[in-house]
Symmetry: C2
């Protein structure tokens, strides 16, 4: 795998039931990560995009959280149905999806 | 957690015994990740650096693999005893540790 133009990191952090911070798993990050992997493969973007799941990215209260590097754009509250737009507009088109961008006090 | 100046991703990918690609777990990535977390906490770098473990970063044959964004520098064959130098020189000092940098055909 060569160095990607866009590297997508999807939080996959879980925590025990009742933990005060909650987690992205509680908020549904697993199907979001699955959808990133599914579309990455279906679109055959291996030469330009990489996708990985990660431990905690920070803003648990606003998860599921996704960060795209090298530009360092974080998306919060990402749902399965948002993934297509992130691919089309950002990962392929190079334009940030402003409606999903983390607020300045979060990232 | 605010947006970090340096975001470190340490591969934590395992694969079943005998898998032809091997994995960073086979090559000792878990203690390397633990050492990144330990030093991150001991150095109290929460306001400038973030550390996360990830699924596969790509160059399994050269693991343990670590990537630092936003600059997109990949380190390969990272050992526990290399982590101090990555903190001192790169994450704090801003200078890439050239001896650990992935070769151009890898990243």
């Amino acid at each position: 795998m060569a160095r990607p133009q866009k590297h997508v990191f999807v939080c996959a952090q879980g925590r025990p039931a009742g933990h005060p911070r909650g987690s992205c798993v509680d908020k549904g990050c697993k199907p979001v990560g699955d959808e990133f992997f599914r579309q990455w493969q279906a679109r055959n973007l291996f030469s330009t995009v990489s996708v990985a799941q990660t431990s905690c990215l920070g803003p648990c209260q606003a998860g599921p959280s996704v960060v795209v590097y090298p530009e360092g754009v974080m998306y919060t509250n990402v749902q399965v149905e948002d993934v297509n737009e992130i691919f089309e507009k950002h990962l392929i088109g190079g334009e940030v999806v402003e409606r999903l961008r983390a607020p300045a006090d979060v990232w």
